[in-house]
Amino acid sequence: MTRSARASSPSSRPAMKATPLSNCERRFLLRAIEERKRLDGRQCYDYRNVRVSFGADRGCCIVELGKTRVLAQVSCELVPPKLNRPTEGILFFNLELSPMAAPGFEPGRQTELLVKLNRLIERCLRNSKCIDTESLCVVAGEKVWQIRLDLHLLNHDGNIIDAASIAGIVALCHFRRPDVSVQGEEVTVFTPEERDPVPLSIHHMPICVSFAFFQQGTYLVVDPSEREERVMDGLLVIAMNKHREICTIQSSGGIMLVKDQVLRCSKITAVKVAEITELIQKALENDRKVRKEGGKFGFAESIPNQKITTFKMESAAVDTNNVEEQAEEIITKADPPSEVFAKPILHTPGTAQIGEGIENSWGDLEESEREEAVEEEGESEATAFEVQKMETEDTSTLREAEKDEPIVLSDSEEEEVIILEPQELPTKARPQANLKQENTSKKAFNKRRRKKRAVR
């Protein structure tokens, strides 16, 4: 049983780049736990410090649980309701394990761990009915609010679920949705300037507390760190609110617990939840006060002062009065730019291209080896073309611009290809030719897309 439990917890992470734990380290950790010692100096029942900081936007917060960090953002949207529940708003939860959090996490991959965590979050926040979904209804059967909660794990140091559940409920409490009014058929959504946004109606705050078990449940540790999670045999997660109501309980890892253990855990949970709820309410109260008084808020305020790794600078004025003269000066001093534009090349009547034909790398953003090679060349060429203008002479764009050519600079990747207005060609030939060109290019694009897919 031990083996299966052990195998299940690391296999939930992609074994790609994640560093494995050495047997030596594993033994050391287990021995320490047997002696009721923890690597970070905590006691068995100690919870790590929780810190909540709010962003400038409503419904945005970062929760730090020790070194584990989770970012939460709530957003809302008016959508038609589900057919079987025409008078209820829709709740959507999404936890993402960002590759920033640990080297083993891959973006957009549904790992076993991620599915498990998302399911737990859903059970904790949706199935506990802590959010009143009926108050999110605008017009029954037609329009309801969809509340979306995005959670991003920024740093993984164990106990993701607790940090995520705290971040989730704090963000939901902090969020304000726009006020709406319904007059007959008409639905008006008010901007924050017109009417104060309204908070969600939240009945209670469920918070998850995790317990790690070692040696088939002989030893118990609250709020396991990442290292402890790797050597644990089983995990028990209890979601509870401050009224001591259990919202969710889940035991995983395949250990068998006796009734007393579960009861003891639920008692510990009650204490921890009371502490955390108080902290959350204080944090929310603080933020509310600061916002009301018009003080400074946002992440900038949560950055510590007087720390060697931080730096702050006040608003800096930049004098741009004589910029144009300066620019002029630079242009006059600079060497005359080399002729970048060759003769326009005519492919078909009605089109013209300037410069060398460059393979368009747009749409090939996913890297594969072939793409990489092409990109390298294409890019160096493409950027050479683009950047040369900017970098080496720094002035050629200005020169162009000075000539008042009808060149529109845009941030699209297709800058190099400039279609000029044909002058000497008869106008009636134009649209057809253009269409043809467009079709062929589209076809080529589709072909490449297909090829890409085949490669994948």
Binding site: D150, D157, V323, A327, L398
Partner: protein
């Protein structure tokens, strides 16, 4: 906040950068991490590397640089992809990848809040992250966003509203020793105007 800024701008008679702050090494797992804040815009960068390459991306002569930009809400889309590419090209120009052949450097940028000039904030966060990871760099770089308002005046470090009102938005990445332009991207139409770029 906006009113305050306008006052400062008026006092300066031209442009002004919003207050910015930066914190390095705030995450324990990544090899390098930094949060960069420009006004209410903030970006968190986490960096792993040089490390083992996953899959078949390995390059025999230099390090592979991978940039991931994660939006705050939803999944990364085309805009994120195009920004990732711009950021990758900028970083590749600066990172001395030749010193670490057959390795991978992964730079993950997480948007914490967007209140205008997001790309320049990403560039700055990326630079601070690279610096914190102790990777060999040929120079430092910074990002500046300029907006041209309908009257043709230059606004540095625009807010979201200023970006919406602007006729053109230009973002530059500039390296430190010679103030050369590493990357530039524009949106909207503009003519002779030149972005005055003072590295912060």
């Amino acid at each position: 906040m906006a009113g305050e800024k306008e006052k400062v701008v008026a006092a300066a008679g031209g442009c002004c950068l919003r207050p910015f702050s930066c914190e390095q090494g705030l995450l324990s797992r990544p090899d390098g991490s930094a949060a960069f804040l420009q006004g209410d815009t903030s970006v968190l960068a986490g960096l792993y590397g040089p490390a083992e390459v996953k899959g078949s991306k390995e390059l025999p002569d230099r390090a592979v640089l991978e940039v991931l930009l994660r939006p705050k809400v939803g999944l990364p889309g085309v805009i994120e992809r195009s920004r990732e590419q711009l950021l990758r090209q900028t970083c590749e120009a600066v990172v001395l990848g030749v010193l670490h052949p057959r390795t991978a450097i992964t730079l993950v940028l997480q948007v914490l809040s967007d209140a205008g000039s997001l790309l320049s904030c990403c560039i700055n966060a990326a630079c601070m992250g690279l610096l914190d990871a102790g990777l060999p760099l040929s120079s430092l770089f910074c990002g500046v966003t300029c907006a041209l308002d309908p009257n043709g005046a230059i606004i540095l470090d625009p807010t979201t509203r200023q970006e919406q009102e602007a006729r053109a938005i230009l973002t530059f990445a500039i390296d430190s020793p010679e103030r050369k332009v590493l990357m530039t991207t524009t949106k909207g139409s503009c003519s002779v105007e030149e972005g005055p770029c003072f590295p912060p």
